[in-house]
Amino acid sequence: MTVTATRAPRRRTEERPSLRQRHPARFFILTGLLILLLLMVAPLLVVAVNAVKSPAEYAANGPLSLPHHLYWAGIVDFWNRVDFGLKLWNSFITSLVVAVLGVVLSVFNAYALGIGRVKGRTWFLVFFLVANLLPQEVLVYPLYYLSKQIGLYDNLLAIIIIFTVVQSAFGTYLLTSVYTEFPKELLEAASIDGAGKWLSLWRVVVPVSRPTLAVLFTFFFIWTWNEFFLPLVFLISNDNQTVPVALGVLQGDRMMDATTTSASALIGIIPAMVFFLIFQRTLTRGIAAGAIK
């Protein structure tokens, strides 16, 4: 035991200096990749360091020094000033409802198009594909005008309805191609057992395609969370803003100095990072699924 334990580290120290000499190409490629990695994450690190630094210390030592003590007042002040808890809740509830309803709508559409092979399905698919590509600018003014007419302007409900439809256009497209390959035997077995189309959908199709639905749910949640343009137009009052809108409209505000700005950026980054960590597995799988279509 002790022999192997002492030998292992020594072998590594012998090998390390020789990497550069024995494999120069290997050494330089790895160094290059690590420098690139540093460039990619450096902005986030700089933000994190300065979000917990006092303005006085920032003025004295600049953006690269590590803070001598953790200064939370910047984050707390900003949180209270924009009532950030409320914005988090607005973003969360909007994204959650859109993700659930968007998946349900996609499932209905794809059930009819992929499994039911309804007449004119190619045209429906082309429609959903085009709908998915449309820039929101071409829809925004009528949506703004109509929602004012029916009293949904400055209301989370308007955003929920719009994004449910927009996201489900993508969902329909992806899910239809999955359902086209759905094993017919499973559906036949269900119908022999006397299940109608409604029961087959919930007892057979949805459970079997659960991994794909989880991926769609993840996409819809994160996409809706990150949306900026339509929430900016629709959610004008402070109480209704989502996180990106609340942070975005404060840019260039006179109240924003270096440390407050990084504090605001940090509390915008953290939820995104949390989702990233939670959903990373589904996400990677999902990107792979999207690539095959």
């Binding site: 007449k119 829809l139 005008y145 927009v166 189309k197 990150n226 942070l247 700005t261 690539a291």
Partner: protein
């Protein structure tokens, strides 16, 4: 006959989708196209003016400038990330994963992908601060290391603003092609590479003949989606520069937004977004045809 009754049972499931898309997509789309032929402030009723908005558009220097900026943004958001992403994905998959191990490759991949998960508005805030002329981190860093003469008003000087935005967009986009290409590379049979090695093929030959050929589907998907994303860019521009300074970073979507909500020129704004939409649809059709042709041959 039996087939059509079977289908009728399924058609019911399309009803919610059809109603919802009609209300949220078709009606607004038709309205925008109609409004683009009128003069309207958003109040009262629109007045029909025929093609006036479009003729005005084609004489408007800002309109042409905004599409010129889009060409540069396509370079920064689609061309450069796709090319770099291709090389990086191949190096990570074919070199790092084999010579070191999978763990390194996946850690690097996640790191490169990180900017992609941030909300667009937040990336704008981060870079807006780093590039700020008086309290921004970049100028402070340059001063600290004695390169103070290189400090610039990165986003506030019309000479540099668009290039600064382009640099930010490369940073933002790079992870997407890497992840897409790496997932595509997993389909490649390792024996293909071994056979190429036995034939004495160089890394570059293998890259061109095997890697690129095998992940062509991903290549098309990435190019289409990133090009369309650059045509639609709004959030970063809104947060970083608001189209300024003196329209140096104006893009079509922000141009339309300004006409809708700041100048109350709804007809003109509608014409801009209609042109943008037509361009995107044409682009998508061209790409799809190219893709189909490539798949057939």
């Amino acid at each position: 006959m039996a087939g059509s009754t079977k289908n009728r049972g399924y058609a019911v499931y399309l009803i919610p989708g059809i109603i919802a898309s009609t209300l949220v997509i078709i009606v607004p789309l038709v309205m925008t196209v109609y409004i683009s032929f009128t003069k309207w402030t958003g109040i009262g009723s629109p007045r029909w003016v025929g093609f006036d908005n479009y003729t005005r558009l084609f004489e408007d220097a800002n309109f042409w400038a905004s599409f010129g900026h889009i060409l540069l943004l396509i370079l920064a958001m689609a061309v450069v990330p796709t090319f770099l992403g291709l090389v990086l994905a191949a190096v990570l998959f074919d070199y790092v994963a084999k010579k070191f191990n999978d763990r390194w490759a996946s850690v690097l991949r996640s790191g490169y992908y990180l900017p992609q998960v941030l909300p667009v508005a937040v990336t704008g805030i981060i870079w807006g601060w780093i590039l700020h002329p008086s309290y921004g981190a970049l100028n402070k860093i340059l001063e600290t290391v004695g390169l103070g003469s290189l400090a610039r008003n990165w986003l506030g000087d019309p000479k540099y603003a668009l290039y600064s935005v382009m640099a930010v967009m490369i940073w933002f986009q790079l992870g997407y092609p890497i992840v897409m290409f790496m997932s595509g590379l997993q389909r490649i049979d390792p024996e293909l590479y071994e056979a190429a090695d036995l034939d004495g093929a160089s890394w570059w030959q293998r890259f061109r003949k095997i890697t690129i050929a095998m992940i062509r589907p991903e290549l098309y998907v990435v190019l289409v989606t990133t090009t369309i994303a650059s045509l639609k860019i709004f959030g970063q521009i809104f947060v970083l520069t608001r189209g300024g300074p003196s329209n140096a970073t104006l893009v079509p979507s922000y141009f339309a937004y300004k006409n809708f909500f700041e100048k109350a020129q709804v007809g003109y704004g509608s014409a801009i977004s209609t042109v943008l939409t037509i361009l995107i649809v044409i682009l998508a059709i061209v790409f799809l045809r190219l893709q189909n042709r490539a798949e057939r041959s």
